[in-house]
Symmetry: C2
Subunit: 365 residues, 2 copies
DNA sequence: CACCCGAACTGAACCGGTTCAGTTGTCGCA
DNA sequence: TGCGACAACTGAACCGGTTCAGTTCGGGTG
């Protein structure tokens, strides 16, 4: 006789009650005498029975599963510190509630929409997280139309029926700018993320606003793509421009680190000749030379709260937007007093100066 | 009247056949005339019907889902380039086969075992990936006992009933050592990953073997933990040792980049005074200064093949171990000719020398 | 022309839970 | 003592598929 998972019928038989009674007892419903309930639970325990996820799933028409679709070039996904941490936060909540997370990784574009459609029509998930929001993001309408509950990370720039879990990017960027202004910088540049992304765009706007607040022009803005390669290229452009910045605010650490490397390759001292700030506070940020002044956000909590909100929404509770603690500046050693006396630039400002002997532009895929 | 998902019964009614016939037609089973099959498929199409994953799942006792449990400190997970890429590879295969991936992120230890147990007893998954294998890994026996099909990444150091998908670490490390030896280095150090991990241990052994092959002593081995902080500490120790190495082979890029930063903080020129190699070829590796010589492995394919193997196993096919293309050295600019003439060390070898003015040991969390 | 066979299809059981309309039994109260 | 109310529990339907034992029917064969 082959071992078989016990079913609810086995438990009912052993406890001498009906299947229904077992179900009620297990789910803590009224209508079962305390003594009976105990007997049932003991029987379940003795048999090592746990309700079948599949059976439950079918009868209550719920997947007990949440979905996360990541549309990103796989080659770049590895360097993004956001998703693993966010997912860890989500999981920390889901595990204790018997929920699971299904993850889809797709290329950007049509594959992404298809992915949501599949999740919806297969009934694979009860709701989805909408991350990496884009401007006028088509997913909002798509997911609404599919009838999938969802939670957005930050509030979309368009009408959205979904609750949003928000972390304001602006204070962090503003702090960074203020920190630099306090150090005497006036020619502060920004290497932005893609304009199409809400966070890329938002951080850029925050930068402009913060600069304006101090009466400084935000002319040195270079739009990159959050990758090291992009950050490198943007930094090259900025450092080669006639009014070279004395400080650069990067929209993420990855670009900042690449930027620092570019400067070092050009023989520009950091922070003496160029101050740099990042965004994310990745593990590496504190361990490069010089340690990176950056903005830290609590992505883990973000995941937790997003999961909690999505579950509440699925349970039918009406949920309002949640605003988390905004990100904060962490000052390290990549920022220092500005050395440029007013607009006067010293001769060393020429970025075409002697490159490091081992720096060859050929190896820069 | 509220819109309701069409069920197989609706399709059957519309096509004028029984539920069973629809099921057969859909699954391409024999016993349905071609004309009927067409009529059924048309009806399904007209109604926009797709079989319910839940119904199917219950009746065939399959979850159509694979599991991946990641046991890692969430704070460090973000900097690991492996999982996102691996998952992307897995997904690239699963999507087209109607499978999904559930991801669990747990703390190391008992929570990990509990996670596998839950996946198994809830019938959430049909099989799991065993990554980050440890020496004498308890998960092998656990998962076998739970009756879960599994695939291991690399072959465990213990009897295992599961097929393994292997990528040999040794050639990459060996290439790195040979590259350095070819540049005249003899005092080559290794900053290893944790000994308990098969890949940490394996790369370390590969280093020793490669050194022995060239008649060099592998005395400068410092065991770290794959994190930037760990790499930093290990590098400090190595650079402070009496017979300071002229080259360091790191077990991953994260530690290598942190190590380069330590050296730079101490005023040690890279690669002139110290050559460095990494492992992983993260996006950043090519974009730091100097660009990092490292070992590239195709993690995406690894994920694909692992998924294919696991699915085959679940389908009942007997599967043998698969060996993928080993990782390869990518030479960039962090390695150069050794400057140390024999064992003679020049006065600059004192690592306690003037630290960079902006390097403060306080900010090194 | 009777018979047999296989292809085509049906009906019902089944997967393992949940839920709801009923049934039973007990107790309080008039 | 009789009645109603309520708590406790049962039995069966249901979720949406798959599967299998049968049934029907048309054609080939002796």
């Amino acid at each position: 006789m082959v071992k078989r998972r016990p079913t609810i019928a086995d438990v009912a038989r052993r406890a001498g009650v009906s299947k229904g009674a077992v179900s009620y007892a297990l789910n803590g419903r009224p209508g079962i005498a305390e003594a009976t309930r105990r007997r049932i639970l003991e029987a379940a325990d003795a048999l090592g029975w746990r309700p079948s996820h599949r059976g439950r799933s079918l009868s209550v028409s719920r997947a007990f599963t949440l979905g996360l679709v990541v549309a990103r070039d796989p080659a770049l996904l590895g360097s993004d510190p956001f998703f693993p941490t966010f997912i860890a936060g989500v999981e920390s909540l889901l595990a204790e509630r018997g929920q699971a997370l299904v993850l889809q990784v797709v290329a950007e574009g049509e594959a992404e929409a298809e992915s949501y459609r599949r999740l919806a029509r297969d009934g694979r998930v009860d709701g989805v997280f909408l991350t990496d929001l884009r401007r006028n993001d088509p997913r909002i309408d798509l997911v609404a139309e599919l009838g999938l509950p969802a939670v957005t990370l930050n509030r979309p720039d368009q009408p959205s029926p979904f609750p949003a879990v928000c972390v304001d990017d602006r204070p962090g960027i503003q702090e960074a700018v203020e920190h630099l202004v306090g150090l005497g910088h006036t020619r502060i540049a920004h290497v932005a993320g893609p304009e199409e992304y809400l966070h890329g765009h938002g951080r850029c706007e925050a930068f402009r606003a913060a600069m304006a607040e101090h009466g400084l022009p935000a002319t040195l803005v270079d739009v990159a793509d959050f990758t090291a390669a992009g950050g490198m290229a943007a930094t090259r452009r900025l450092l080669g421009s006639p009014d070279r910045p004395t400080a650069i605010v990067y929209a993420n650490d990855q670009m900042a680190i690449a930027g620092i490397s570019v400067a070092q390759g050009l023989g520009i001292q950091i922070p003496d000749e160029l101050s740099v700030t990042g965004y994310d506070d990745t593990e590496l940020a504190a361990h490069i030379h010089p340690p990176l002044t950056t903005v830290r956000q609590d992505v883990f909590s973000w995941g937790q709260v997003a999961a909690r909100t999505l579950l509440a929404l699925i349970e039918g509770e009406t949920t309002a937007d949640v605003h988390l603690e905004p990100a904060q500046l962490v000052v390290r050693q990549s920022t220092a007093q500005s050395q440029s006396r007013d607009e006067q630039s010293d001769p060393r400002d020429n970025p075409a100066r002697v490159p490091s002997p081992h720096h060859s532009p050929s190896e820069e895929t």
